[in-house]
Symmetry: C2
Subunit: 108 residues, 2 copies
């Protein structure tokens, strides 16, 4: 894959997407595995529209992909073309515990 050098403006726009604690937590979650909206809502303990709007921003910024599977829409990370994010992603705190805690009453 060929990765073009990012301009400062492009980098700033992408970093703005990561500069909100809700969105950065979503990214930390998606780093562990793909997730549907209801998973993220459960883990972050906020409203569904709130998460939905943050996911829309991440999708528009090219940070995540979405795939519908029957009634659920799954989001996954799409950062392979942004190598300048690698160190951030590698150093995000692990969300494994919060994901495990979700399992029993899973929504999807």
């Amino acid at each position: 894959m060929v990765v073009a050098e990012a301009s400062i403006v492009e980098m700033a726009e992408t970093l703005k997407l990561l500069s909100d604690k809700t969105r950065l937590t979503i990214i930390a979650l998606l780093k562990e595995r793909e997730m549907c909206v209801c998973d993220i809502v459960d883990i972050l303990e906020t409203t569904q529209p709130n998460i939905s709007q943050h996911l829309k921003k991440l999708k528009n910024g090219g940070i995540v992909n979405e795939t519908r599977r029957s009634q659920w829409i799954y989001y996954s990370l799409n950062v392979n073309d942004k190598p300048y994010l690698n160190d951030i992603l590698n150093r995000l705190p692990s969300m494994k515990e919060r994901i495990e805690a979700l399992k029993p009453n899973s929504c999807c």
Copy 2:
């Protein structure tokens, strides 16, 4: 040096500092060398109070250091305790040409 793991909230706050094109350009400049305020104003072609306020935010966020030398105040990068910024810093476009262009009529 011991570098503590950053929380998501701390990382988001720091990334917000890098998410503005003026501030990210300042960081790209300071990556090449320390600079005084008037250098940065000349290169970025904006007003002195604008740069001064951005520098204040970067300083409060612990991203830059300041040192006064007679009437000039020099700013320099201070990112050694934030390894998650490494890939961003390494992939910022070079500012060497814009810094060279400044040299003749340098203000300090």
